[in-house]
Amino acid sequence: MNRKEKPHAKIELRRISRVFFTRKVVLFGFIVIVIFIFTALFPFLLTPYDPYRQQLEETLRPPSAKHLLGTDAIGRDTYTRIIYGARTSLVTGVFATFLAASFGMAMGLLAGFYGGITGTAIMRFTDAIMCFPPILSALVISGLLGAGLRNVVIAIGVTLLPAYCRLMYAQTITVKENDYVLAARSLGATNLRIMLRHVLPNCFPPLIVLITMNMGTAILSEAGLSFLGVGIKPPLPAWGAMVSEGYLYLRSHPVLSFAPGLAIMLVVFAFNMVGDGLRDALDPRLRGRI
């Protein structure tokens, strides 16, 4: 970008941030995400306890000044485990989304650019993936690979992949018909260069929105998998698994499953609202489509 364009970019950025922060609920979501990331990075600043430490003389304590949300069946502090669980959720969200976005975009780009049999094969493959409910395919993949953070990331990544593939495919087939692509080609640009310089930048607004929203979806899926027992392996603190463990003591200690569930909802809500806000700010035409 040359110097002349800079003021324009600045104005554009200011407009985007103004639209973005207009809605109070978007601002709320933004603050929640900032807190969430801070919690995931520095959990030890927010709680004096160790999330793994079992105190068998203090099991199933009700909420008190010492244990804000009480303790679980083997005497671990619930509040501390929720705080540390943020890290598990953030890691799953970031890596699963990154995995899905990078592979999905590459696939969509190839399918759209080369078309033909390659394109058909790739797109029909994503159609086939989309015949399965996402949580179900994640359940099967994660269940077969075995529980654990890495496998959960892979499983959720696969379920998120088709959306990126389709987005890139749709963008590529429109962009590639443009005259400036022809011009670039006549100047001797390689396929790779055309894809990276002309096709990719056109997809950024919807992509950023999709990535933000998928962070929430991934966190929600991870919670579901951990709830079913094929997600995060204990004792690593994970919100979904905490809901499941707490379910056993629902009658006497509802807070054990209520509190982590609220944390899931709050964070997923925040990502969705920020995604909404970004969509309105970056590309209002997408309203109702993503």
Partner: protein, 318 residues
Amino acid sequence: MTGYIVRRLIQAFFILILVTLLIFFIMRILPGDPIYMYLTMMEAQRISEKDLMALKKQFGLDKPMIIQYVNWIRGLTHGDMGTSILNRDSVGKEIKKRLPRTAYLGLLALIISAAVGIPAGIISATRRATWLDNLVTTIANCGITVPIFWLGIVFIYIFGLYLKWLPVQGYTSPFDNFWLSLKQAILPVLCLATMPTAGIMRQTRSSTLEVLRQDYVRTAWAKGLREPAIIRVHVLKNALIPVVTLIGLTVRVVFGGSVLVETVFNIPGIGRMTVEGILSQDYPVVQGALLIISITVLLANLLVDLSYGWLDPRVKYE
């Protein structure tokens, strides 16, 4: 139109073949051997190599993968979905028993989500930026983000344990005991309907807003038509096209939800069956469940595509 239907059916058939390939090979490429799972339950150490081979042979697991696939498909065409490795029940029979339960709850959830979501979305769009719109939007935004398994647990606590209005768990067929069945269905159906309702509300709201901006709606106002007539005649039909697509996709969401909801409420449906199959690495059970679910989803999508022509004559069947 006929040509389009035929083409669409052929396309669906190819996707179906891809789906079976995907199911079959993913189940085999990923690690885990069902025979060992079976053996740990029957004292794995004591079994000899010969018996192991015999067992593998019995379940057809000794043959090359391609042959196993062909055998599976051949069985399917005869209505044989294989036998469960764990308890040796016929998978087809088990699915026949369980699918109606999931379908019953899922259909109720679908009906509720359309019946609540569409009117709420329209009200919210026509009363934009009022307290009513804010309320609907907030509820919808919460609905698409709430973890439904957690919502189920909260419902169980409030309505089952605290207020004692509804039974906590289980499933009864409506033909055996209608009232008990209805009472048991309320909470799971509410959970299943939450996300679709919210999704339909949001989609209806945004597409209605889109249509309300069109010139022909302004013309209708200028002609002096009343609001209900404008909404019914001019807005609804156009605004509902994307909503119908979403309802088609919702079948997938409801099946996905049933995996979680059936676990929370202890309902012996097809979702629970898949979870149990995965946890015990029972290949035929998981394969069968995945196949039935994906076929249903595929059919729902097909139905939606075909309904476009009826809803929107502009859609050209290319």
